[in-house]
């Protein structure tokens, strides 16, 4: 392990970067990319199976790989990347040492071991239970152990983030308030703690049930608490993604928040209300009262939606102000047309914003009402919704950020900037088609998590309107394009991290 005091000064931002924080960011980010690779291969097989013209996998393998796709993408890729982000947002942005680097390594190992156990269980067919693992569908007890280990590791990661905030404050490594990006990441970490606590509350009894120590678990109550993990973990993504948007706006056009009060208030609204959103999954459930459903799904009067609306104004605004200061003042939109569209960060930010807001956000708010949930619950349209938020939104933003982290933190020259830029466009087009296909087929009733929408084996014959197959085909082609974009992402980032030219200590080259 490197010396605690080993430190360098970043030639681009002037921040002090401690070696041990840098190493931890490196390992967590690289691990995240490994998991997006696994998840991406699964995405390809799943998309090619749902497409009736190809129907690649057997039913057994399909459900197995679909479980793996969900877990590797929704949890492993994103949480590893977020832990890297949390260490960056605390240690690097605050010029501080990391609170407890040894503990951080321990947390990393817990997460990695947990993830490996979960993947082994899934791929050997002992945990074909989908991402949700609803009881009473039982997986191998080790599967639950893996999930718990991962959650505990991530929880320790969050604790280290808060610890580092405290260390930085005590050692006065910054003046006044923390930077906006750090503030946003604090919101993400707070949301994460509640999320992971829900995970512990539900997975520990589920583990005990799987080894026979508990006889009965209420299946509906499992759903209630599980979604405290399952959906709220996606709220961590939303919050981290918005922070990344602010970060990308700074890195690409040198944007400065126009009004800190507005931006921070929006993050506070996330902290307070966004974790009520898991309710969206329970709208068509029996037993739960309409009052619980309405109060929670409205996130207390849609205040978390208001927060997203505020960010939707504030982020393009920061970019516009920064661009106008540079002299791009002709007409209404010169600031936008003269933006750095030929480097990966700016289009990644804009497409992420559009896909998140217009596809993910609008579908989310509409499907999240009691009556429209009846029309959309568990259909493929839901899958389309969160591929808009978490893939088009979060993943695309994280991909864009990776290309800047490589020179900033890993001090390597990016190999293939043109590929990196093209990747962002390809990915955005792929996800757009994918979500439109899923949304269209789902609105016509195509179910999610389904091996064969032609129902060839069904005892009672049934077939869909052919439009469903058309939309499924659009989704599959979109999926193929997105997988191609994802493959370029993995290729460019892995090549750059391991074989990119090492930057000289004073070299202030970003892209």
């Amino acid at each position: 392990m490197s010396n605690e005091l080993d430190v360098r000064t970043c030639p681009i931002t002037g921040k002090k970067v401690f070696k041990n924080a840098q190493n931890l960011i490196w390992i967590n980010a690289v691990t995240a990319v490994v998991f997006i690779l696994i998840g991406g291969i699964m995405a390809f097989t799943v998309a090619m199976t749902r497409w009736p013209a190809v129907h690649l996998l057997s039913a057994d393998m399909f459900y197995r790989f679909l479980t793996a796709h969900g877990f590797n993408m929704l949890i492993f890729w994103i949480v590893f990347f977020e832990i890297a982000g949390l260490y960056f947002g605390s240690a690097v942005l605050l010029n501080s040492r990391l609170a407890a680097p040894r503990l951080a390594w321990f947390a990393y190992i817990l997460m990695l071991v947990g993830a490996i156990i979960v993947d082994i269980m899934i791929f050997t067919g002992k945990a074909t239970v989908m991402f949700t693992s609803y009881v009473p569908l039982k997986a191998d007890p080790l599967y639950y152990v893996g999930v718990i280990l991962f959650a505990v590791g991530a929880l320790i990661g969050c604790a280290i983030f808060f610890g580092t905030l405290a260390v930085a404050k005590a050692e006065k490594t910054y003046e006044g308030s923390v930077p906006l990006v750090t503030f946003g990441l604090s919101a993400a970490a707070i949301i994460a703690v509640w999320t992971l606590a829900c995970g512990a509350i539900i997975y520990i009894p589920t583990f005990l049930w799987s080894i026979g120590l508990i006889q009965n678990l209420d299946a509906a109550m499992y759903r209630l608490i599980f979604w405290g993990l399952g959906h709220a973990s996606q709220q961590i993504n939303v919050t981290a993604m918005v922070s990344v948007w602010y970060l990308l706006a700074t890195l690409t056009v040198g944007a400065k928040p126009v009004n800190e009060k507005i931006c921070r208030s929006a993050f506070v609204l996330y902290i307070l209300f966004i974790n009520l959103a898991p309710e969206h999954h329970l709208l068509t459930d029996p037993t739960l009262s309409p009052w619980h459903k309405m109060v929670n799904t409205s996130y207390m009067m849609y205040l978390a939606v208001l927060a997203s609306m505020i960010h939707a104004l504030a982020i393009p605004m920061t970019a516009e102000v920064a661009q106008r200061k540079k002299g791009y003042t002709k007409g209404m939109f010169e600031w936008l047309t003269k933006a750095p569209w030929n480097e990966p960060g700016f289009p990644a930010m804009i497409f992420s914003l559009i896909l998140f807001g217009f596809i993910g956000g609008i579908t989310g708010v509409t499907y999240g009402t009691e009556q429209l949930s009846i029309k959309s619950h568990n259909t493929w349209a839901l899958t389309g919704h969160y591929h808009g938020t978490v893939v088009g939104g979060t993943t695309l933003a994280f991909m864009g950020l990776t290309y800047y982290v490589i020179p900033l933190i890993f001090r390597r020259n990016l190999i293939g900037k043109k590929w990196a830029t093209a990747q962002v466009y390809i990915y955005a087009i792929g996800i757009t088609l994918l979500t439109i296909g899923m949304g269209g087929a789902g609105t016509l009733g195509s179910p999610r998590r389904h091996w064969d929408v032609t129902f060839a084996d069904a005892i009672i014959p049934f077939s869909f309107d052919p439009t469903v197959i058309l939309f499924t085909t659009i989704a599959a082609i979109g999926g193929l394009i997105a997988v191609t974009g994802g493959a370029i992402y993995v290729g460019v980032s892995v090549l750059s991290v391991f074989f990119g030219r090492k930057l000289a200590p004073n070299e202030a080259k970003l892209l």
């Binding site: 503030f183 604090s186 509640w194 009060k261 307070l272 037993t287």
Partner: protein, 52 residues
């Protein structure tokens, strides 16, 4: 900014206090979502239907 008061807004101080935000961020969803929901499931009547 000379004319600005030399006192930081209470809101700004509150927003800088991560532990306060943390507390609120834990309590609100725990009470409104988790506890309320668990209570509803726990208190729901159990059917004793014997025939149609």
């Amino acid at each position: 900014m000379a004319e600005e008061k030399d006192k930081i807004s209470a809101w700004q101080l509150m927003f800088d206090d991560i532990s306060l935000l943390f507390l609120l961020g834990m309590v609100i969803p725990t009470v409104l979502y988790l506890l309320w929901g668990v209570m509803e499931y726990a208190n729901a009547p159990i059917a004793t239907i014997t025939g149609p």
